[in-house]
């Protein structure tokens, strides 16, 4: 956007309910650069404690359609709701096709109490796992009490995203049991709610039985993940799904589990951020003039690897001291 509004002014307007300011602010947050870092503490302080729900599962499982149906259901209960829809980037170009909006019904797109934001999994400084929690915090600060996050649950990083949610919904399809054997354990481990979507297709009962059997093999937990069935295309079972999600929300709040989990997530997030930023400094130092000399000497065998890394670290430390 041509004119450079200050991030600070954008945040104030977004907190005040200015939708256009929120949209611009989210771009600043996603970019993760210096303007964002300045306002990060204010975004955090303005948080009101939004309930986040992650929907994850294989491509085509019906996550976007189910998200749209959930938005409709949440609106039926009168709450405002935001959606963060994440699609993978092309590793080659860094570009992406973000197609989740195609499943949104018109009524939800134009609803002033619905906000949808599409994100690509790569391209942000720090990658998705750093950008998503900050985008959620920003939506929270701007007064969105429920945030639904759609991610493709295939890769490691995508599954990690769902750790950003208070409630994780894993979306599967009938017959899934045979298909994705390898991922089963991982998906079941992160699920607070399991949904067998496309329940209009054959094999639903067998899949539900399979899942319930596998869940019972696991250790006894205070929250037993429910197995539900939905037909996202006509909304069947979606009221029940929202009911269970709110039950889970209440469970988290009453047991103190919510604050505990959120604290754990913040710690994990910071570990990742620190690692990422150190890696970033390290690669910048290598590319600097002084760094290139050290790498050159290492290549010629004039210095040993330990000395080379010591010197690079000293350079990096100097740079970081200057930057702070």
């Amino acid at each position: 956007m041509g004119e450079r509004e200050s991030a600070d002014a954008l945040l104030r307007s977004a907190i005040g309910g200015d939708r256009r300011a929120l949209a611009r602010l989210l771009s600043v947050v996603e970019a993760g650069g210096a303007p964002f870092r300045v306002i990060a503490p204010q975004i955090f302080a303005a948080g009101r404690g939004t309930h986040t729900v992650g929907l994850t599962g294989a491509p085509g499982a019906g996550k976007s359609t189910l998200t749209d149906a959930l938005v409709t259901e949440v609106r039926r209960h009168g709450s405002r709701v935001a959606v963060v829809a994440v699609d993978p980037s092309s590793p080659l170009s860094g570009g992406a096709i973000l197609g989740d909006r195609v499943r949104l019904r018109q009524q939800n797109v134009v609803d002033d109490d619905v906000y949808v934001r599409s994100m690509a999994s790569r391209g942000q400084l720090g990658g998705l796992s750093l950008a998503v929690p900050e985008v959620i915090r920003t939506l929270d600060a701007a007064g969105w009490p429920v945030v639904l996050i759609e991610t493709v649950g295939v890769g490691q990083s995508e599954v990690a995203i769902t750790e950003n949610a208070d409630t994780t919904v894993v979306v599967l399809n009938p017959g899934w049991g045979d298909e994705v054997q390898a991922n089963k354990a991982g998906l079941l481990e992160i699920a607070d709610v399991l949904v067998v979507n496309k329940a209009d297709r054959p094999g639903v009962q067998a899949t539900v039985r399979d899942l319930e059997r596998m869940l019972h093999l696991g250790k006894v937990q205070p929250w037993a993940p429910a197995v539900l069935t939905t037909i996202a295309t006509d909304g069947t079972g979606v009221d029940r799904l929202w009911q269970v999600i709110t039950d889970h929300q209440r469970f988290l709040a009453e047991t103190g589990e919510r604050e505990h989990r959120r604290a754990q997530r913040r710690i994990a997030e910071v570990r990742e951020r620190v690692l990422h930023e150190l890696t970033d400094v390290s690669s910048r130092v290598e590319r600097s003039h002084a760094g290139a000399l050290i790498i050159g000497a290492l290549a010629k065998g004039e210095i040993d690897p330990v000395t080379a890394s010591d010197r690079l670290i000293r350079l990096a430390a100097g740079r970081m001291a200057d930057a702070r």
Binding site: M1, G2, R19, R20, A23, R24, L26, S27, E30, A31, G33, S89, S90, L92, S93, G94, G95, A96, I97, L98, G99, R101, V102, Q106, V109, V110, Y115, V116, R117, S118, A120, G123, Q124, L125
Partner: protein, 132 residues
């Protein structure tokens, strides 16, 4: 560096979805984040362009220039100054009319490379260099 964001929308039912998909893929391969909207009304395009904070709007035209003009009016009425490109079936007389309103037109037969190059030009000022 952050990728520029493009909203791709279909303005009528007769335009082929295939055409918009081919352009979308070319833009993705050119490093753009392409947000697909499907078949949407003028109001909806304005809403999505604002909410997604896009840098460019791509309209797939199905022969009727009036529809595109109504979208341009709606964008203007909503204070959205995002540049617009149009592709698909655009009648000859319509190209001149749209270009006069600052819309870059790409009728059938346009090279994908030209579309991507124009998209780059139109979004160039938005590319912020994050390196110090």
């Amino acid at each position: 560096m952050v990728a520029a964001r493009v909203l791709m929308a279909k303005t009528s039912l007769d335009g082929h979805w295939r055409g918009i998909n081919v352009v979308s893929r070319a833009l993705r391969d050119g490093g753009f984040e392409v947000i697909l909207a499907g078949m949407v009304t003028a109001d909806t395009i304005a809403r999505i362009a604002a909410d997604e904070d896009v840098d460019l709007i791509g309209l797939h035209v199905g022969g009727r220039v009036e529809v595109v003009e109504r979208i341009l009016d709606t964008l203007a009425a909503n204070g959205i100054t995002t540049p617009v490109i149009a592709g698909g079936t655009i009648p000859h007389y319509a190209v001149a009319r749209l270009e006069k309103r600052n819309v870059s037109c790409f009728p059938p037969g346009s090279a994908l490379d030209d579309i991507v190059a124009r998209a780059r030009e139109l979004t160039a000022q938005d590319v912020v260099n994050e390196e110090e």
